[in-house]
Amino acid sequence: MSDFIDLVLLAMLALTGLRIIFLKDLFAVVMLFGIYSFLTALIFINLDAVDVAFTEAAVGAGISSVLMLGTLALTGREEKESSHSSILPLIVVFITGAALIYGTLDMEPFGNPDNPIHKHVAPRYIEDSPKEIGLPNMVTSVLASYRGFDTLGEVVVVFAALIAVLSLLGVPKEGQEKAPASGLKSHQVLRVVAKLIISPIILFALYVQFHGDFGPGGGFQAGVIAAAALILYALVFGLPNAVAVIGPRFLKFMAAAGVLLYASVGFFSMYKGGNFLDYNKLAADPVAGQHYGILIIELGVGITVFAVMLNIYYAFGNQVERSNIQ
């Protein structure tokens, strides 16, 4: 049954991909990208990778669609005819595809418990992590503790994305030139519904943030969900109103503070005589130390992701409003 679902989902994924290639209407392409992400999330769920599915749905289908729509508002929704020849890229794509298929020839059988991937490092993660780290969710154990350095790197990648967007679009200015009232004034239904659901979304974000130790969730997803709540507010009630709640300058500090909070856990464990990010040294009891460490670094992740996503949206939104005025 599971194989059959996989096949159907993969077929739909391929169809969506093909449609994206041939479609010229970029608005529809963005929507299809959202569908593509949801399909991928479903495949992840079918593979029992719920954490990954959650992230894919929140980031791939949620925030990135909003950001791409923000770009479309600046660039227009029709794809321009490309003047380049597409023969060379086609050849490259075919060679790459052929190489990937060639690579599958010696692949281990799908889902076989004897595969090397299940035999080497994974057993320790599965058997010892409840004792060593004390969390029911092994994904969080691996992500935040065993490979915590990678996660710090990923947070810095998110931070670097903010630096890139700010340097391209400029730092949005606060409180200057009152922009004409934006938002969707005439859509009463939207306004009421938005008012109703924004606070539950933020509450849910907090739940996801702190529930990551026990089930799917954690800082990445929580940060994105919280940012989505404020983006919804900005969309319906206008950018200036959202900026009045949290301004871009403050968000810039938040983004930096999240990274520093994460790193400070590492430095504190160095101060306590351990290696960088050795949570065992944070408290007298190693398992309690692991717990504190993971709680704080997840908070750092959440803060940075939230601040970066919202600030990137502000940067786009600001550009759109400026081009509307002109």
């Binding site: 190489a99 990937l100 060639y102 692949m107 990648v157 670097a160 630096i163 391209l168 790193a263 290696n275």
Partner: protein
């Protein structure tokens, strides 16, 4: 305490300094802070190299988890040597940036520039020091994102298109590396490089592993701008701010060359990559074409930054040529050239940036008569240019010497002759610029009195590199010792895991 964490500090210092530099906000504060941090990291890199030469390998378990479960930082002579070059260049370029970016980057974006520079430096250090294949990809992402940002910061609008092309090519490269690492993980179940080397079983799942090898090699080749995948490089180097070009040209592609060395020698094993896959022939052919095609292209450009960019692609050819000779001497020549080329290209691009600072153009016509008006800058350009050509008493000669020796060791007379032939083309493209600077008069129409020497803060790092060019050209003990022990270590270590495997069977 410092001793214990020495391996982690060159990554961690710039990594946390980047958000702090953003918070500091004021251009001069973040400049001073970034320079200080970079100088500290450079000091630690120096100590690391000392330790690695004395003790061999230093391993640092991040999070206290032993590899392969946790992430390991693994320092040996090879990466400590490259790290020293990267961190020294980062410090000198930051010193140079203060005045240089004033003319080329909007004042409101100076803090972002220093933040991006620190992020890029942290990423490059991470790539160098990590012993984990996926961790390498994470740091590659950090450094790449920061690099695209820095290229796009120039006020020249064409830098945006250059940065976009670089972004697309770079992302394809990074994705290929990720696919390759994924395939390796699937067939071995581990991400630690040494553990990978032990567990790669060609007989069992050869086709999957060879596909992984192919994807990693192509991805890294894009990142290091190996001909014919170098198309992003000339425009990115031409339109980026001068300080950025000086930093990227002397570090980013070199770190990618190191990644290639690491994957060939530590992960896949030289016997497999060069012996059974025959990749040495492919690399050698591409390297030789790169040397000649791009050196020739350099001779016909009118923008001096483009000339030097094409020259960079050609110089990368020399490094790859050294690797493809499959001998300890060849590898050593490649490693020495990574270090030496950083010194040469850093100085050259700094001199070109100085010309832009005063004249406002880097076209070859803008160099006319500068020998009289900016004597110190042009003298620096001349010495670094002679080094690129490979004149004795400069580091360029040292690189070429070992490369030719390595070729002759294997009776590759043609390769040795081609290396010398490539130098002749360098004489032409450097010579054209020197001729304009010293033997052509400045056109009267331009106001010549305004053009004078650049501020000392730009001259000092430039001349530091020029003097290093001469110093390491005369006293080669440090570079040859580090490079030869690194090369021997890579070769000898390469046989060990294979030997272990045979015993295990």
């Amino acid at each position: 305490m410092l001793e214990q964490h020495l391996a982690a500090l060159p990554i961690l210092l710039p990594l946390i300094a980047a958000p702090i530099a953003l918070i500091l906000g004021r251009s001069s504060f973040s400049w001073a802070f970034a320079t200080l941090i970079s100088a500290c990291a450079c000091l630690f890199a120096w100590q690391l190299l000392d330790l690695a030469l004395a003790n061999g390998v230093i391993s640092y378990e991040v999070g206290g988890w032993p590899p392969p479960w946790g992430i390991e930082l693994r320092v040996d002579a090879a990466n400590a040597f490259v790290l020293l070059a990267v961190s020294a260049l980062s410090t000198l370029v930051l010193l140079y940036s203060k005045d240089s970016i004033e003319k080329e980057i909007e004042a409101s974006k100076h803090t972002l520039y220093y933040t991006a520079h620190l992020l890029c430096f942290a990423g490059l250090s991470g790539i160098l020091l990590t012993g984990d294949a996926f961790n390498l990809f994470v740091f590659l992402e950090i450094s790449s994102l920061a690099t695209y940002t820095m290229v796009s910061l120039a006020s020249d609008r064409r830098s945006l298109i250059a940065a976009f092309r670089y972004l697309v090519m770079g992302t394809i490269g990074a994705t290929f590396i990720l696919i390759g690492v994924g395939l390796l993980y699937m067939s071995t179940g581990t991400l630690n490089m040494l553990d990978l080397a032990n567990r790669i079983d060609i007989a069992e799942s050869g086709r999957t592993i060879n596909t992984g090898l192919a994807f990693i090699m192509v991805g890294v080749s894009i990142k290091l701008a190996l001909f014919p995948l170098h198309m992003w490089l000339p425009s990115a180097y031409t339109y980026a701010p001068s300080a950025v070009t000086a930093f990227l040209a002397s570090t980013a592609t070199k770190v990618a060359v190191y990644v290639m060395i690491r994957f060939i020698f530590t992960v896949f094993g030289v016997d497999h990559v060069f012996g059974s896959m025959g990749m040495d022939l492919i690399l050698m052919a591409l390297a030789i074409v790169a040397i000649f095609k791009c050196s020739y292209k350099a001779t016909v450009q009118s923008d001096v930054k483009t000339v030097l960019a094409y020259s960079s692609v050609a110089q990368i050819g020399y490094m790859i040529l050294g690797i493809s000779l499959v001998s300890a001497t060849g590898l050593m020549a490649g490693l020495i050239h990574i270090f030496n080329h950083a010194l040469m290209k850093g100085a050259l691009f700094m001199a070109v940036g100085a010309v832009f600072y005063r004249v406002g153009s880097v076209d070859i016509t803008a160099f006319r008569g500068l020998g009289k008006q900016m004597p110190l800058t042009m003298a620096a350009f001349t010495i670094a240019g002679l080094s690129i050509i490979g004149v004795p008493l400069t580091v360029g000669f040292v690189s070429k010497w070992y490369l030719v020796t390595a070729a002759l060791e294997q009776n590759q007379w043609i390769v040795a002759a081609l290396v010398l032939g490539g130098s002749l083309l360098a004489v032409i493209y450097i010579g054209r610029i020197l001729e304009a600077a010293y033997f052509q008069e400045r056109p009267d129409s331009q106001n010549t009195t305004e053009i004078k020497e650049v501020p000392w803060l730009m001259l000092a790092p430039m001349w530091a590199l020029v003097l290093a060019n001469i110093y390491f050209g005369v006293d080669t003990s440090l570079t040859t010792e580090a490079a030869s022990s690194a090369a021997e270590w890579l070769f000898q270590n390469n046989e060990m895991p294979l030997g272990n495997q045979a015993e295990a069977k």
